[in-house]
């Protein structure tokens, strides 16, 4: 008898599931509200959650700030929805499909914070006419707007990062020519993200005669004993760390355990946040990382966020985490998306805009020092200016060092060497265009 009831319940549950699936299928038609919809693809769970959470909080908080402080973007209210990706590509694609049609005008712009998901969405975005902003990650060759019309790696790519690191250690050695005979090890996350800088480093290695050791670390990156034993065996002069999530802190711990000096370790900008160093405790002291925009700390925009968002109990995270490295990066990413919309509103009017209209805005972004100051981001980013050919807009970065308590950013600004990177970008983009049979845009004719 009991079993029979159980079965009935089960059957009912199964029926309900199927019915509900059918119900969600026919998405309700949205009234033409004055709203701009922002899809968010965070990862608040899984091995990368420690890094995904602050970024997602920063991004969401900025959108909340714009609504609370300015009443939206020129009167168009921002709505947003999160869809957890767990840093997994297939989940990311599902989330993209789920969110791309939401809101009165569809999704404004996607920022997946995952190079793997970016690769997948790069194929889909042109069909759906939605731009992708990948500030500081994604495909390095997508700088080329003639091929990658919908991608915007604003502010920096991994080729810039790798190039700047080589320049920096060259300078430390007393000139790039002094790198001859040196050994540089790349300890990288074994995914498109970690592999992205390799072509540039190989090119630089050939140019300057240093030896490049490639040491991949498998997802999620908690097993690095063997990697660091190899570091100990070969004693490279520098270690470049291209890690993400738990991999970074593990790398630092293993470096401590194998006695590799942290002063000779340089992380990419995704390996230089608080969750990366704090688990390693004092062992992380002396470790360096790049920071391209948004160093840690608080400025005008943070004051606004605390006032308009957190003091009203609307904050996405904890109050004391506002101002962390990755939080700030989320903030800047959110801001650039909003500025893209603002720019597009100049051309298309102050109404909810479609993805392809926002794309134009992102391609014609011009944030100079004055504009940045007005937004309250002074000291958190460099000026940025995009064009049809250059979807990146800024090629500079700084070096920060962990002193055991906080990140100290050195004042020098480094610029990547476009002489070296540009041909690489052109070559790679051309290969992509040929593979996918994409027509190349002519920027002189096609401004919109």
């Amino acid at each position: 008898m009991r079993q029979a009831t159980q079965r009935k319940l089960l059957a009912a549950a199964a029926g309900a599931v199927i019915a509900a699936a059918a119900a969600t299928a026919s998405a309700p038609a949205f009234a033409q509200a004055k709203e701009q919809f922002f899809p968010l693809l965070p990862y608040r769970t899984g091995p990368y959650a420690p890094n995904g959470v602050p970024f997602a909080n920063g991004y969401a908080d900025y959108l909340k700030l714009v609504n609370a402080r300015d009443g939206g973007i020129n009167g168009v209210k921002i709505t947003f929805e999160e869809c957890e990706t767990g840093y997994a590509t297939d989940r990311g694609v599902e989330c993209y499909e789920r969110l791309k049609g939401k809101g009165p005008t569809g999704a404004t712009v996607f920022q997946p914070l995952s190079t793997g998901i970016t690769f997948a969405l790069t194929d889909k975005a042109p069909g759906d006419r939605i731009p992708l902003v990948t500030a500081g990650y994604g495909r390095a060759d997508s700088v080329d707007g003639t091929v990658f019309k919908w991608n915007f790696p604003l502010g920096g790519t991994y080729w810039d990062a790798a190039d700047i690191l080589v320049q920096y250690v060259g300078k430390k050695e007393g000139g790039l020519d002094k790198l001859k005979g040196k050994k540089i090890a790349l300890v990288y996350h074994d995914s498109p993200y970690g592999k992205e800088p390799i072509p540039l480093l190989q090119l630089r290695a050939k140019m300057h005669g240093f030896e490049l050791m490639l040491l991949p670390v498998t997802h999620p990156g908690v097993e690095q004993k063997a990697t660091w034993l190899q570091v100990r065996q070969h004693r490279p002069d520098y270690v470049f760390l291209w890690g993400w999530g738990v991999m970074n802190s593990t790398a630092l711990k293993e470096a401590v355990a194998t006695g590799y000096p942290r002063e000779k370790m340089y992380g990419v900008w995704w390996s230089g946040a608080e969750p990366d160093v704090t688990p390693a405790g004092d062992g992380a002291k002396g470790y360096n990382a790049l920071t391209f925009l948004a160093p840690p700390g608080q400025g005008q925009v943070h004051k606004d966020i605390l006032k308009y968002v957190y003091d009203k109990g609307q904050g996405s995270g904890k109050k004391e985490d506002v101002g962390e490295v990755l939080y700030n990066r989320g903030l800047v990413s959110g801001m650039m998306a909003v500025e893209g919309v603002k720019r597009a509103q100049f051309k298309y009017g102050k109404k909810p805009l479609k993805g392809e209209e926002v794309r134009w805005g992102l391609e014609n972004l011009a944030l100079d020092a004055a504009a940045i100051k007005k937004l309250g981001f002074t000291g958190f980013m460099d000026p940025i200016q995009t064009t049809c050919v250059d979807h990146q807009g800024s090629h500079s970065a700084r070096i920060e060092t962990w002193d055991g308590k906080k990140w100290n950013v050195a004042p020098e600004v480094y610029e990547s060497d476009l002489q070296i990177i540009k041909p690489l970008i052109r070559e790679s983009a051309a290969k992509y265009a040929a593979e996918k049979k994409i027509p190349v845009r002519d920027c002189a004719k096609d401004a919109g």
Binding site: P47, A49, P216, A226, V246, P279
Partner: protein, 333 residues
């Protein structure tokens, strides 16, 4: 006879693999020793997870896929509770939680599935593992948390006179090894000296005999799962102290499967030795063999330690299915 040839050849191969790097001069003796030690340390952690699995398998015939999730859950509990109380109190409370977990698992999962096929139970523990991963992170959060055992992380250089370049030793590694050894000794005492322990051994040897001397099977399961829970707690604390308490702990525990295959499903010494062999084997392979493979086949990097354990276990299975110390299995019609 055929069996012995298989074993001997595997042994010879393993030994050859061990000696090869030295013979070919791929590393200095000092460095070689460091790799060996690194492997042993990784192996200790595998052993600790495998130990829990073997205990449960011995007493209830269940392969506990959820042991990794239990390690994570225990470590998360201790790490988060230690934020509010001294570590020892958190650890004690953690033990209490693991006993509670054991009781719940016995009531809700094992009892209804009694006498089911081994594969069904395996899948059930896979379900338990998913549940505990989600539950643990819901209750305790999904950041990286640290457990501070108060041991310095900076390595010490020893034997500089003996080997060129000396050998780096980590105090926390040594501590981990000591803790593991202590745990095994305690378990041995528990099984030899206490009446509960002896009863557990009786069950392992013969289920019916155990029932006939009046030990309720349910209680035994609870006890065994509790013991395995405590083992998980120790593993979690050692691991957590070393690498931080984080979701991925639960995944690395998959490696315990090849370990118990190598050591034998029912052998406690097998779990320890199997863990050490896998640990040493994969580090040796990664450091010495992978660069050769990479050069020969122009691979995009090494990383063979990801599959080395499984492939080793698979090959081993083909020559000796019962593992190093396991009991021989006979199929009856």
């Amino acid at each position: 006879m055929k069996q012995h040839i298989g074993i001997v050849s595997v042994g010879v191969l393993l030994l050859a693999g061990l000696v090869a790097p030295l013979a070919t001069g791929a590393g200095t003796p000092g460095f070689y020793t460091e790799v060996l030690l690194g492997g042993l340390m990784a192996g200790v952690l595998y052993s600790l997870v495998a130990l829990g699995i073997v205990l449960i398998f011995k007493a209830s015939g269940v392969f506990n896929f959820a042991q990794g999730a239990m390690v994570l859950f225990a470590a998360l509990s201790v790490a988060r509770m230690a934020e509010a109380m001294p570590l020892w109190a958190a650890a004690l409370l953690g033990m209490g939680i693991m006993v509670l977990v054991a009781i719940v698992i016995e009531r809700l999962v094992l009892r209804p599935l009694v006498n089911q096929d081994g594969v069904v139970l395996l899948m059930a523990t896979l379900g338990v593992s998913y549940f505990m991963d989600g539950f643990g992170q819901t209750v305790w959060g999904s950041d990286i948390y640290s457990i501070e055992l108060g041991i310095a992380k900076e390595p010490v250089m020893i034997l500089e006179g003996v080997f060129q370049g000396g050998i780096l030793i980590n105090k926390d590694d040594v501590a981990a090894a000591l803790v593991a050894a202590l745990l095994v000794a305690l378990l041995a005492l528990f099984f030899q000296k206490t009446s509960t322990g002896r009863a557990l051994r009786a069950v392992a040897d013969d289920h019916q005999a155990a029932q006939s001397i009046g030990i309720p099977l349910n209680r035994i399961w609870v006890i065994v799962w509790s013991v395995a829970g405590v083992v998980a707690l120790v593993a979690g604390m050692v691991w957590g102290a070393k690498l931080g308490v984080q979701f991925s702990i639960s995944q690395v525990a998959l490696k315990a499967l090849p370990v118990v295959i190598l050591g034998g499903f029912t052998s406690v010494p097998g779990a320890i030795i199997g863990g050490l062999i896998i640990g040493v084997g994969e580090k040796m392979a990664e450091v010495f063999l992978a660069p050769v493979l990479v050069k020969t086949f122009d691979l995009a990097g090494g990383g063979i330690e990801n599959w080395f354990a499984y492939v080793l276990a698979l090959l081993f299975l083909l020559v000796r299915p019962q593992g190093l110390f396991g009991e021989k299995l006979i199929d009856r019609v």
